[in-house]
């Protein structure tokens, strides 16, 4: 009996010593799905870090932050990946994040000096349409509101693009945002809880346009060889979404977390982004963007509210939206 116990004890001890260090990254669900960037990113990082990269998925960006707030300082996360700039104000206020200490060169349409969060990809919101069905897309919110073109949008209370549109209208129209929502009300077919429902209904022909990203047509072009989807370019500009990652102050693997954030901006991570997340990489990989991905909205037509401002106008903007659409 005793030799067996000793042997067992030794085996356990060896295992513990040989155990590779673990880096736990919280992210949103579609990042880790078989069709997202997760599997390729995990393989690439594990090949160079000698560690075990474990993704933990929690719904979308907002669910991710909610989970972090529930867990507080006792969270197992070392890195959180997948918040956007509409959430980083609230995320910073939790005090759970540590400075990343990096000053990388980024290919972003805006300057970046956030000490806590580093971007990994970005995109502009846009209304996507089918060019075989809609010959004459509107060129601005005003033109859209004046037309009888139908649109599908997402609910800002439950969806990231929905919140993005709320900020877009606010950034473009300012004090006239409420009036714009009232003018848009009769164009809106319905408001869906998430992006998937709206996009699925759009593809079924339920509306002329759907709120999505300027990079959405690239998916249809590259993955499906379908050239009929396009986005309507708006004169007032397009609202920018930047997706970011941050390191937890309470991490038990700070070096690994730092290594992961640095890796995140290297080609091993960035080259995967365009054709899995269908967003623009924060650092354009050496090979450039894939053929047919299209050009981003230029910097001068980028609308963007910094995190503090976004947080400050959010509740009032939501109230305007609700009052205008509740009818």
């Amino acid at each position: 009996m005793r030799p067996f116990l000793i042997a067992a004890g030794l085996t356990l001890a060896t295992q513990a010593m040989a155990q590779t260090p673990v880096l736990t990254v919280y992210t949103y669900d579609s990042f880790v799905s078989d069709w997202g960037p997760g599997p390729a990113v995990e393989a690439a990082f594990e090949a160079e870090c000698g560690c075990d990269l474990r993704f933990v998925a929690a719904g979308d960006g907002a669910a991710l932050l909610a989970r972090l707030e529930l867990e507080g300082a006792t969270t197992d996360a070392d890195v959180v990946l997948g918040l956007d700039t509409n959430l980083t104000g609230r995320a910073a206020a939790t005090g759970l994040f540590a400075p990343h200490g990096l000053t990388p060169a980024l290919d972003l349409p805006i300057g970046w000096d956030d000490p806590l969060f580093l971007p990994f990809d970005w995109g502009h919101f846009a209304f996507v349409y089918d060019s075989t069905k809609l010959a004459d897309p509107p060129g601005s919110f005003a033109a859209l509101a004046a037309s009888d073109i139908s649109i599908l949008i997402q609910d800002p209370r439950s969806s990231t693009p929905g919140l993005g549109l709320l900020m877009w209208v606010k950034a473009a129209e300012g004090a006239d945002a409420a009036a714009m929502w009232e003018a848009l009300a009769d164009n809106i077919v319905t408001v869906t809880p998430g992006w998937s429902e709206a996009y699925g209904m759009f593809l079924e022909g339920e509306a002329d346009m759907v709120l999505s990203y300027t990079s959405s047509p690239a998916y249809h072009r590259i993955a499906e060889g379908d050239d009929t989807k396009a986005y309507a370019a708006f004169a007032e500009g397009h609202y920018l979404q930047v997706e970011v990652a941050g390191k937890l102050a309470a991490t038990d693997a700070p070096e690994l977390a730092d290594a992961f954030l640095a890796f995140m901006l290297s080609d091993g991570f960035q080259a995967v982004i365009p054709e899995t997340n269908w967003m623009f990489p924060a650092v354009t990989p050496a090979g450039g963007l894939p053929e047919g991905f299209g050009d981003p909205v230029p910097a001068e037509r980028t609308l963007y509210l910094p995190p503090e401002e976004a947080a400050a106008v959010r509740d009032a903007a939501l109230a305007e939206w609700r009052d205008a659409l509740a009818r």
Partner: protein, 517 residues
């Protein structure tokens, strides 16, 4: 007698404690973590009004429309009747997103109905708004109501109809003496179940409601939790929801306390009288309309998805296997909860509706809050990813409990009224009673309950998002992931696979139960 009641009460008590652990305790955990509950504001009352109004409309319409359909199905015998009864269950069992896309394909702006209207030169109709919410809720719940009421019809022993016939009773008398009392016993339960389902409606209300005017309490809870991270407000809204549910349970419970139709000899043959040509025409119309209304959106789902099933990636098939295993585990647990509660409720007849209220709790407490509360409670015990599977099984079993309970209750009442005293006087108790009397007599509703529980667990998604384990996704989650990755066609294929598996499970269990129907 005492021993029998003791064992039963013990089992029912354990089931009740389990339900409490999965509903009230998580709610309390969220409230405790929030440190208090704020008073609801004026916007919350508007949300409450809309929630209540759409639920009342949806439940009343669903239950009302189900009566002629169930009566027709009870009266008629025709080829494909069994198939129709099974298929009619499908909408209720589908994941909401799939059902909504099916509905939109038929009733939406670009749907078949409007295509038909404009082909005839008529103005098109918009489905979005309160009308759309109610339409979708009737679509989802008419099948459940039909099945619950059909169970009621089939629970009237055929000897009663023979007796009525030999006494020279016409259709009006049959209705008055046999069918009306049965409906009075069954309808409140059916209405209540649907009312409660609609009370916690989330995606249907949002997509078909057309905008923030159609905000339900569940949407407001979602907003409080996700958008504002205001746990106190989420808990306060969840408490409002639970209070509404308990009030409805009490009212419906009072209305439903009637005795069953009495014992029969289970003789096959003479059934509900078929009636003449006029009734035949009415029945044909009822079955035809219900079938068209319920199956057209499903057909749309199948047509768009079927060509993509064969090409589904391996990850989707693996998820399907996981979902099947989970569904079976949840089914066993749901029955273990529902049976003792239904028997105890039947035995306690007339002395309050406590057991019934407990069985309804899983519908009364917001899934969002339950998920959050369980997460708060269990996080210290084990890593959430390890708990994902057991929590999903337990929560799904609890979610199916209200339906299983209501399917079992009428038969349990009849069992207690008709055989309870005889069994007691014979000293039949414990396992022997369960094996020789209870299980054989309740076979039909047990099969139906198992079918519902299995289908529910197959289609579930929402509650356990916080426990997510990326490597062990279920089929509905894979479906969402496909949609989220632009792969709408593959998602349509996954929807057909999910529908086929769900219906298959339901059919196998239900079939086992109603070999004689």
């Amino acid at each position: 007698m005492a021993r029998r009641a003791g064992t039963l009460n013990l089992a029912a008590g354990a089931a009740a404690a389990g339900v409490g652990l999965l509903t009230l305790v998580p709610l309390a955990a969220v409230a405790w973590r929030a440190g208090g509950l704020p008073a609801p504001g004026p916007a919350d009352w508007a949300v409450l009004r809309f929630t209540l109004w759409q639920a009342v409309l949806s439940a009343t319409l669903s239950a009302g429309l189900a009566v002629p359909v169930a009566r027709a199905l009870a009266r008629r015998r025709f080829a494909g009747r069994g198939l129709i009864i099974t298929l009619l269950g499908a909408p209720f069992l589908l994941p909401v997103i799939v059902a909504v896309l099916g509905l939109v394909a038929i009733f939406g702006r670009a749907g078949l109905m409007n295509a038909g209207l404009s082909a005839l030169g008529l103005p098109t109709v918009s489905v979005y708004g309160l009308g759309g919410v109610v339409l979708a809720h009737v679509f989802l719940n008419l099948p459940l109501a039909t099945r619950l009421i059909l169970q009621g019809w089939l629970s009237i022993p055929s000897e009663r109809f023979r007796l009525a016939e030999s006494l020279g009773m016409g259709p009006a008398e049959v209705r008055r003496f046999l069918e009306a009392p049965m409906l009075a016993a069954v309808m409140p339960g059916a209405w209540l179940a649907i009312f409660l389902v609609c009370l916690t409606s989330f995606a249907v209300a949002l997509v078909l409601g057309g905008g923030p005017g159609a905000t339900t309490l569940e949407v407001a809870i979602y907003q409080a939790f996700r958008f504002e991270f205001d746990l106190g407000r989420a808990a306060a809204l969840a408490l409002m929801q639970a209070a509404l549910c308990l009030a409805a349970v009490t009212v419906a419970g009072r209305a439903a306390s009637r005795p069953g139709p009495g014992a029969g000899l289970d003789r096959a043959g003479a059934r509900v009288p078929a009636g003449g040509i006029w009734r035949r025409a009415v029945d044909t119309l009822a079955i035809g309309l219900a079938t068209a209304f319920l199956l057209a959106p499903l057909a749309a789902v199948v047509v768009s998805g079927l060509p993509n099933v064969a090409g589904l990636p391996p990850a989707v098939w693996a998820a399907a296997g996981r979902s099947l295993a989970m569904a079976l585990a949840a089914t066993g647990l749901a029955l273990a909860l529902a049976l003792p509660l239904a028997l105890a409720a039947a035995r306690a007849e007339g002395r309050g509706t406590g057991w019934g209220a407990i069985a309804m709790l899983p519908l009364a407490v917001s899934p969002m809050v339950v998920g959050t509360g369980l997460f708060l409670l269990l996080r210290g015990l084990a890593p959430p990813a390890v708990l994902a599977l057991p929590v999903t099984v337990a929560v799904n079993a609890a979610m199916a409990l209200p339906f299983a309970f209501h399917a079992l209750l009428p038969a349990a009442r009849a069992l207690t009224a008709d055989y309870g005293r005889l069994a007691d006087s014979l000293g039949m108790a414990g396992l022997a009673r369960l094996r020789l009397l209870t299980l054989p007599r309740l076979r039909r509703p047990l099969g139906f309950s198992a079918g519902i529980a299995a289908a529910f667990a197959m289609g579930d998604l929402g509650v356990v998002a916080l426990f997510g384990d990326p490597d062990r996704a279920t089929l509905p989650l894979q479906l969402y992931r496909l949609m989220g990755a632009y792969r709408m066609e593959a998602a349509a294929g996954a929807a057909v696979l999910l529908m086929a598996l769900t219906l298959g499970l339901f059919w196998i269990f239900d079939r086992g139960g109603r070999a004689d129907a």
